[in-house]
Symmetry: C2
Subunit: 558 residues, 2 copies
């Protein structure tokens, strides 16, 4: 240590302290830890979604753009986070936060997460993950079996086979879908004769070699936007994501799908993949998965099912029939931070055939060498955390029975809420829940009656007013912070395919009660009567009344 | 609630308990939490990298492939994890774990992580992240400024601008590199005339429209394997990743780079991107970033710098000159779970020009609508956790000064270790450290002397023996569990470009002492004398001796 400058010696010691485990339970860090726990418990017990505060106001706390020169105390930063970040975050675990797919966590996830963070394993290779690698393989095996129901011999052979993987764990559904479509693309244009495969030579030469003008991915209009993103990333272009019409229940029209495949075939465009959806993001519907499998087979296309939301429906004896045909998929996406109730962000894709992942296999000299057990050779990501630990914990602590209760409850609650909306004269259900998602809007009774007898121009006028009102109610309710529903835009057949803005509700939090749901409707009704919405409401009422009176509004206003 | 079955009512209550915050500090969950903390503290204080145990043995704990039907207690699962997972994981924070880029964490990351896990925010949209969104924008701004040093007006204008993003946060360097190259690819073939852009029409039409035969990404032979993966994913094919020769210090040869660009141009292949490396994964060298910028400009290519490892060198006044030219990059990758000392897994890419990210912009109806502040519109991933919170905490608690100490210490320690290796007659340094990474191998003095006078065939024979011995020592040392260095394969010019297997050392843990490093050499020396290595050592010694005696080994063995 001779020859070192004095400041360097002092700083070595400072760093040593920062990286050393604090032994004493009465240490400052332990005290901070307890403060944080208390504060978080308080936050999580409140039933407020978010404090009423404009985001541009919150930005003030995060306006420094220079990395500070001098260190601050951990206690100071903890206080800063509690005051400015926690206090201004969204209470995604609140029972009245029913607008998105981010829900409450089982509380045991918190202490168990500590193990994951403290061990800081890296799943790319066994050298930095050891036992975490077989654990992740087990989780992939369990989800594979949930979907594909292979026998014990299958899993004993493949689950821990170093040269194969039953799937790929990743940060979420988007990467899971991208991984599946990457595999699909590479399988569609394999090495043959003088062509060394698309993975090696790229899409341009692949299409030239195989004599195609393009490659397409087919999915219903309700497909998740990540699929369009994947088409872009994979070099196919967003046009290659071909949206197929749905029926009134937001399920893909199988005949239209087949027609589209035939049409593409005529245009010399390779039908590369067909994607079924098991739980559409906006309406929670499930495509006819079995019929789609047949079409995929007919056209030699990779069959992918995006079950990011709906996959865990397989836990429910009562509802798993909705997933019929999923076992025919070549690949299936699951999101663990959705209905497996694991913290953000982890998803996975499972492959029916254990050899599928080899289409995207990569190696390097210092890790993921051939023949190693390293999981990193077939994942899109490199370094990855040990989130599989939390999935395993959920699967063991809640078990199939626990997840079944969560699924059954959610669907049940959605049906009850749908019935409640049906029973209110001033609301209308837009999509009836198949899983635990529904959409609706505020629409006074006379407007509903007027809509039924309106000509297209009048109906469009009513709809435009309703859209503005729905948007106003949704935004204002969110800003008030007591409850949160999201909004989206649908084009329902029964409203002449007009773009309809609707409230979207996701019922995945077991703590959400019927009383809370009734209160949400009540607040929305009050917001519809808010002075700020008065002008729009006046036009709406006037338009409706004039339709009902058989007079054209245009005459009246002229 | 009438009409519900009794079991359903009971299970509703069970679920209510699981999702409700346990209030009492003496609750079972609090006790489990404390047990976990104690156990982890014990694990982290041990200086053992891993217990000696074969992975196939550990797999037995993870052999169930069926999701359990019945729930188990949290305490039972916690005990299972402590006994089977924690006990068999790799102690990446051990000061003698110096083989990979996964290092110790500052201990304050643990309590602060709890905030992130408990709040379970989703950064894809402000509706599920609120204050976390401006915080993430701040972190992107801070890293942007660290790299590009723009003035206050720049950050006040752009940092919180809802229509722009100064970068994209993601799960790690692989996705960061892929995002940068996705942007590069889409910018290389933009909409023009009748062509609606590669993002819309895909690579096949893009190349046809622009009259190219392909598109290439150029990087040195030491480029990270994620770049080849990105070339595959993006539809360019792995061949499109053109590896350029390096000089003796593993830095790209600028003349060779320029020649390669000219050659590609002649072949009508678009030079789409040039990647500089700021800290090669295997040897820690930094490309001549400034000279590469000039070439990228000359050929109109996107200039990306992969600073996943070396980026934080910018914190050091003493060493930041190594990064000169990084500020000319269009995009720069940083890995936060590497030298920002944040838990696995988070990385980011920053863009010099705030409009760059628009090349990959996506929108959806229910989130990331145009004009929203949602960060999800320009990220490859969808749902993402609030890891930015931990980066911000690191930047404030350690501050520039703290990170500077870590960087300076690491480089200093690598130089000291290199000097130690140099001073040992039976080891040889293969790559001299520029940052905090070096490679070396065990090589007895007489073998070194023999190598110097050997003909190519003899040298190759020596090298093959040395490779086997290095591999044996590295594997056995890892299995023994006291210390861990990794291994990789290099082709150094001074060893006739033979593939040399070498020990690779990454010195990023401030707790690693010179004593530990000396012990690691000592254990390796003992392993070289291990009976299991005796046959190989005998051949090596024999070969060396016969070279030294001026006699061909072939004669002797015939």
């Amino acid at each position: 240590m001779t020859g070192k400058k004095k400041y360097a010696q002092a700083s070595v010691e400072a760093m040593y302290r920062v990286f050393t485990v604090p032994e004493a339970p009465e240490s400052t860090l332990s005290r901070i830890d307890q403060d944080i726990s208390r504060n978080l418990a308080g936050f999580l017990q409140e039933h407020i979604v978010a404090v009423e505060r404009d985001l541009s106001d919150v930005e003030k706390y995060f306006s420094d753009y220079a990395i500070p020169e001098k260190p601050i105390f951990v206690s100071e930063q903890a206080q800063f986070l509690l005051d400015n970040l926690v206090a201004n975050s969204v209470h995604t675990a609140s029972p009245s936060f029913i607008g998105h797919m981010t829900s409450a966590l089982p509380y045991f996830m918190l202490p168990l997460s500590k193990i994951m963070i403290a061990l800081n394993q890296n799943l790319v290779k066994t050298e930095t993950s050891k036992a975490f690698t077989p654990m992740e393989r087990q989780v992939l095996g369990m989800i594979h079996r949930l979907v594909y129901q292979q026998d014990g011999a299958f899993y004993r052979k493949w689950m821990h086979d170093p040269r194969h993987a039953l799937g790929a764990m990743c940060s979420g559904g988007t990467i899971a879908n991208l991984t599946a479509l990457w595999v699909a693309r590479n399988r569609a244009f394999p090495a043959e004769g003088s062509f060394r495969g698309i993975h090696q030579e790229g899409l341009f030469r692949a299409l030239r070699y195989y004599g195609y003008e393009g490659a397409a991915i087919l999915v219903s209009r309700r497909g998740h936007y990540s699929l369009r993103k994947a088409a872009d990333v994979l070099g196919l272009g967003r046009d290659a994501l071909v949206a197929v019409d749905t029926d009134d229940d937001n399920r893909i029209q199988v005949d239209a799908l087949r027609d589209k495949c035939l049409e593409l075939q005529k245009q010399k465009i390779k039908v590369m993949a067909i994607c079924g959806i098991a739980g559409t993001t906006e309406t929670g519907n499930v495509d006819p998965l079995e019929a789609m499998a047949d079409i995929a087979r007919e056209f030699g296309a990779h069959y992918h099912v995006d079950a990011a939301w709906g996959g865990p429906t397989l836990f429910s004896r009562q509802h798993r029939h909705l997933m019929k045909g999923i076992e025919k998929a070549d690949s299936v996406t699951f999101d663990a931070h959705k209905q497996l109730y694991v913290p953000m962000g982890v998803g996975l894709v499972v492959f029916r055939d254990p050899s599928l992942a080899s289409a995207v296999e990569h190696h390097a000299q210092y890790i993921i060498r051939k023949g190693s057990r390293d999981l990193g050779s077939t994942t899109l990501e490199g370094s990855r955390p040990g989130m599989a630990m939390l999935i395993q914990s959920g699967l063991k602590i809640l078990a199939r029975e626990g997840y079944e209760i969560l699924i059954d409850q959610g669907i049940d609650k959605a049906r009850t809420f749908a019935a409640l909306i049906d029973s209110q004269p001033d609301f209308e259900l837009v999509t009836r829940p198949e899983l635990n998602i529904l959409t609706y809007r505020y629409c006074p009774e006379e407007v509903q009656r007027a809509f039924a007898m309106a000509d297209p121009a009048q109906a469009e006028k009513l709809n435009t007013c309703l859209n503005r009102i729905t948007k106003f109610i949704q935004k204002t309710q969110r800003e008030r912070g007591k409850a949160f529903v999201s909004r989206t835009r649908l084009e329902p057949a029964r409203y002449n395919h007009f773009p309809c803005i609707v409230f979207r509700v996701v019922l995945a939090n077991p703590l959400t009660t019927q009383e809370i749901l009734a209160d949400i409707l009540e607040e929305q009704r009050l917001l519809a009567a808010d002075p700020e919405a008065a002008d729009e409401m006046a036009i709406l009422t006037q338009t409706a009344n004039s339709i009902l009176a058989g007079q054209a509004l245009t005459n009246k206003r002229a």
